[in-house]
Symmetry: C2
Subunit: 224 residues, 2 copies
DNA sequence: CCAATAATGATAGTATTACTATCTATAACA
DNA sequence: TGTTATAGATAGTAATACTATCATTATTGG
């Protein structure tokens, strides 16, 4: 049995739905590869088009500009991760165990999920670490937020906040702690690999150290 | 008595030292205003030159490109803040009180420091919140790090980590906690003002809520 | 099966960005 | 007074970020 995972994206993110054509899927697949390889600043629609074997105009039919495309793939990732979280924490009753599982999912190097044929989640995870916050750190953030472009991120954050609340109903800052967990899972990873003196994780470069740091931080903070 | 605070910057950050000429100081002053107003992406040397009343070539004599200029003003801010931290925590013996003071300095809206005539620290603080992490979230991070461009940030982080270590010598993650404090002081501020559902700080938009969140997080985490 | 429609390819063109180069004028300094 | 550093003025290039147009090829619905 082969199940293809379909993720329905906010229509404002694209001009033409990339999931519904071969060219569209190629755009997503090659964008992820190119952004991963050279970074978002060096990424252009011209290079992407060349890589795919289409023209610049072809890409512009799908996405208004490269920033929208970045928001698209980042939103895709958060939606996919939300699904992973739901799947992996289903049947777990203890909110503490749930929260631990979520921290692990957030901080662990992602492997390619074969049920999504044109997206390499491993590369995508790396992109989120380096480029994710650039989606909202702009002057357009309020407009983009009104268009609900950040909904998947906010939904995940709200979900984590609810579990924190379950762990300790008296804790005052569940949402801020949730966004801290998400951001730090990524920033500590980036620091570990690029600016290691900002972390306590040596050259081992092990996801487990980050998980241990976050577990310690979170469960001491919300301890009843 | 008027004391001008002079901050000595890493020479690799500029081509010609902007502190040593009128034009250089204008470049810094107007850069801060323009980036604050329109964001780093929309900021160009052409617009800056027009704003100042000089030419593009004039700006290029001081800075290689706009990314370097951003790193410069961000590094300037961290150096200035380090000084503020030293000044405000001088004579405090209790590391817990020290750490509280640092959290307050990090999370409080900054007012213009009149002892630096051509830098508006208030605007600069806003810039750091939105643009600060863009200095290192690039493919060039390792090279830039080798050139010591992030030294002021890393020094501040190390300083905070040492105080954490003083508070609790057994705590395992002082550096990661320090970088978490710094980043979250800014991200929670950005979220509060732009994506409030990611925080627990309502429309009051009060720095004190962020300080309370961070105090709670930090002191529960390092409690002996 | 044919006609209408949608998607793609091919090509061209514009304004802006991110620089580099050169030459002149001025100020500063020794 | 002559030399050097700094700034201003102007020009030019390659790349970026788009927009427009027209022909071609698939797709689909009658």
């Amino acid at each position: 049995m082969v199940i293809e995972l379909q993720i329905k994206m906010n229509e404002k993110l694209f001009l033409r739905n990339p999931e519904q054509s071969e060219l569209g899927k190629k755009i997503i697949m090659h964008s992820i590869q190119l952004i991963h390889k050279s970074g978002f600043e060096a990424f252009t629609f011209r290079k992407l088009a060349e890589d795919i074997g289409t023209t610049e105009a072809g890409v512009y039919r799908y996405f208004e500009n490269k920033h929208r495309l970045l928001i698209y793939i980042v939103a895709w990732y958060w939606t996919w991760l939300q699904y992973q979280v739901m799947y992996q924490t289903n049947n777990i009753n203890d909110p503490i165990v749930k929260l631990k599982m979520i921290i692990k999912l957030l901080a662990t190097t992602v492997e390619d999920d074969l049920s999504t044929s044109y997206v390499d989640e491993g590369l995508l995870h790396q992109i989120i670490i380096t480029e994710g916050s650039k989606t909202y750190l702009t002057k357009r953030v309020s407009e983009d937020n009104k268009d609900k472009l950040f909904k998947p991120y906010k939904d995940l954050c709200a979900h984590i906040a609810n579990i924190i609340k379950e762990c300790n109903p008296n804790y005052c800052y569940p949402k801020s702690l949730a966004s801290t967990i998400i951001e730090m899972a990524h920033f500590q990873n980036f620091f570990m690999n690029n600016l290691p003196s900002l972390t306590d994780f040596g050259q081992g470069k092990d996801d487990n150290s980050i998980i241990a740091f976050l577990d310690d931080l979170v469960f001491k903070t919300i301890a009843v």
